[in-house]
């Protein structure tokens, strides 16, 4: 290559990549390693190896209940935010909705508003309007947090899609609802899948809004891990976290198989 990057800069860039990757991976490695510890205490490096903490969490009522609750919550949140977010993204990109740029900004705003602020606001609003914390209050709170991901991914895919495909369907006699079903939704599919992936993970992982909006006596998995860490830190916490990492990894593989990650990355 003529006038390319000098070798020194390339070596430095590679080194920087390695450092950043390590920085991102070390916490994961520490957690995963600790989860296989035989010790009673959460220490690193682990002393002795065993699977006892996995057995422990699967036989623990608290863990199973919390995981089941988080799973139900994340599933409902994902379905709702995909339905609402995809509709909003289609409206913004496919119709000249008045002020669609301002709307886009508005839909993305929960990404930058501190979640603690959202939590307080949602708590106060729900106490006034919906009889206080509970499952559906928490769903509503999480949908606010996850909606931007869906709007963003679906709008990005639709903005790049060839508009003449929809026009072609029109000239072929397709009324609007059949155009949405046969053309727009298939075009939006990679964005919907990616948005659902983010929505599920964010909801499953979210602790701040959940702290404010959960009903008394219910625990989500992240909240349970947090309280365990605070009061009785043992390697079961690491085992639960490792299973969460595993679930995310499996979801990513599924997403890649279904639509290809390279379509989502853009």
């Amino acid at each position: 290559m003529v006038g390319g990057t000098p070798p020194v800069a390339r070596v430095l860039a590679a080194a920087l990549c390695v450092v950043v990757a390590l920085f991102m991976l070390v916490p994961l490695a520490v957690v995963v390693a600790s989860s296989f510890s035989a010790s009673e205490f959460l220490v690193f490096p682990p002393r002795g190896w065993s699977l006892r903490w996995y057995a422990e969490i699967f036989s623990s009522r608290a863990y199973v209940d919390a995981a089941w609750f988080s799973l139900r919550l994340a599933t409902v949140v994902t379905l709702l935010s995909v339905a609402l977010g995809a509709a909003a993204a289609i409206a913004i990109t496919r119709h000249a909705v008045p002020g669609s740029e301002a709307l886009t900004g508005f839909f993305l705003s929960p990404l930058v508003v501190p979640t603690i602020l959202l939590g307080v606001g949602l708590l106060m609003a729900s106490s006034r309007l919906a009889g206080g914390p509970g499952f559906w209050t928490l769903v509503a709170g999480h949908v606010v947090v996850t909606l931007p991901y869906v709007v963003r991914t679906v709008a990005a895919v639709l903005a790049r899609a060839d508009r003449s495909v929809e026009e072609a369907a029109r000239t072929m006699g397709a009324p609007w609802w059949r155009r949405y079903w046969h053309v727009v939704l298939p075009q939006a599919r990679p964005g919907i899948a990616a948005g659902a992936f983010f929505a599920f993970n964010v909801s499953f992982d979210e602790a701040v809004v959940a702290l404010f909006l959960r009903a008394p006596g219910t625990e989500t998995l992240p909240l349970l891990i947090y309280s365990k860490l605070e009061f009785s830190p043992d390697p079961s916490v690491a085992a639960a976290a490792t299973l969460m990492i595993l679930m995310t990894a499996l979801l990513m593989v599924a997403l890649d198989r279904a639509i290809g990650l390279e379509k989502v990355a853009a």
């Binding site: 060839d162 029109r170 059949r178 046969h182």
Partner: protein
């Protein structure tokens, strides 16, 4: 099949006028080319016919029925897009079945038969189960054409259908489009910026400029008798030389006098097509000529494109490949006065 008629058709986008009061009648079964440079309004015209844009004024009639207010999904026309606009998530057969399903034309078996027939028409039998991304550009183009035809529309609209193909494929497809039109005799309207394509494909050419029809007529007529300097330049790659006519002589400023066919006296433009000009040492009987000097010679396959100067005027000449002149040489620029037009 149907005739098509527009009256006073206009389209404004804000302050910009894309189409400015166009009147046009197209007979049943005609092959019409809307020709013009980019921004002349030809694509807007086509989109208005399809119903994809709403006109600011005027009416559109297809087969005697006023369709001006009808949305595209209820006009029943066939349209092929420049990008082909195939459904990427459907197979070739799925793409072709789509218009039949949307219009509920026939039962499943009848639809399958129509799909097979349309694929045979564009010579793509056997590719029913492929997806568009598995096809070459030329094959995609044929699928798009077949999809526009499959529901037997009364009018076929083609938006720059060949512009994404390479030169050889484009020539092949031109021939196929002509054959197809001869076979099924469908009223066809083609948008193109390529004058060669328009003249060779269509039996009626509509030359457009700045939202208006500059000139319309059969290809030979419009080529032989351009009505304006714009038409002469765009259709025939012609040279335009300012002259002053007195009787049957025209004075070419700074270059000499040449005989012309009878015309009114006064300042005019002499239209000289590249292929009507020759470079020789001496004139032949009845020829007009001007002394000229060769400026540049470019080889282009079947012949040479020679740029010459006659006085202050530059002209393009299409010369045979065995021309013995070099840049800087002097020669006589000759033509038959009957071939030259005066505007």
């Amino acid at each position: 099949m149907a005739e098509l008629r527009v009256d006073g058709l206009s389209k404004r986008f804000g302050a910009a006028v894309a189409l400015d009061g166009v009147d046009l009648a197209i007979r049943d079964g005609a092959f019409v080319a809307l020709l013009g440079p980019s921004g002349c309004g030809k694509t807007t015209f086509l989109r208005l016919l399809a119903g994809l844009e709403a006109p600011s004024a005027g009416t559109i009639r297809i087969g005697g029925v006023d369709v001006t207010r009808l949305p595209p999904e209820r006009r029943g026309l066939g349209m092929m897009f420049q990008s082909y606009a195939l459904f990427p998530h459907m197979t070739v057969a799925g793409n072709l079945r789509f218009p039949l399903r949307m219009r509920a034309l026939g039962d499943r078996a009848a639809q399958e038969a129509k799909v097979r027939e349309a694929l045979r028409l564009v010579r793509l039998e056997g590719l029913e189960e492929r997806h568009p991304r598995q096809l070459s550009g030329g094959q995609q183009q044929r699928v798009a054409l077949a999809r526009a035809l499959v529901a037997d529309p009364p009018v076929l609209l083609l938006d720059e259908p060949l512009s994404n193909l390479d030169a050889q494929l484009r020539k092949d497809m031109q021939v196929e489009l002509m054959e197809l039109h001869r076979k099924i005799g469908l009223t066809t309207i083609l948008v193109t910026h390529d004058q060669d394509e328009a003249l060779s494909l269509a039996d009626f050419v509509v030359l457009m400029r700045a939202g208006r029809i500059e000139q319309a007529g059969p290809p030979r007529e419009i080529y032989a008798r351009p009505a304006t300097a714009f038409a002469a330049r765009f259709l025939g790659a012609a040279n335009l030389v300012p002259v002053v006519v007195r009787g049957d002589l025209a004075e070419v400023e700074g270059a000499g006098h040449v005989p012309v066919e009878a015309a009114q006296d006064g300042p005019r433009q002499l239209v000289l097509r590249q292929e009507d000009l020759a470079l020789r040492d001496a004139t032949r009987a009845g020829e007009a000529s001007l002394p000229a000097r060769v400026v540049a010679i470019a080889f282009h396959g079947p012949g040479l494109r020679v740029v010459v100067e006659a006085g202050p005027h530059r002209l393009d000449v299409l010369a045979p490949p065995d021309l013995a002149l070099r840049p800087g040489d002097a020669a006589l620029l000759c033509w038959q006065p009957g071939k030259a037009l005066l505007l």
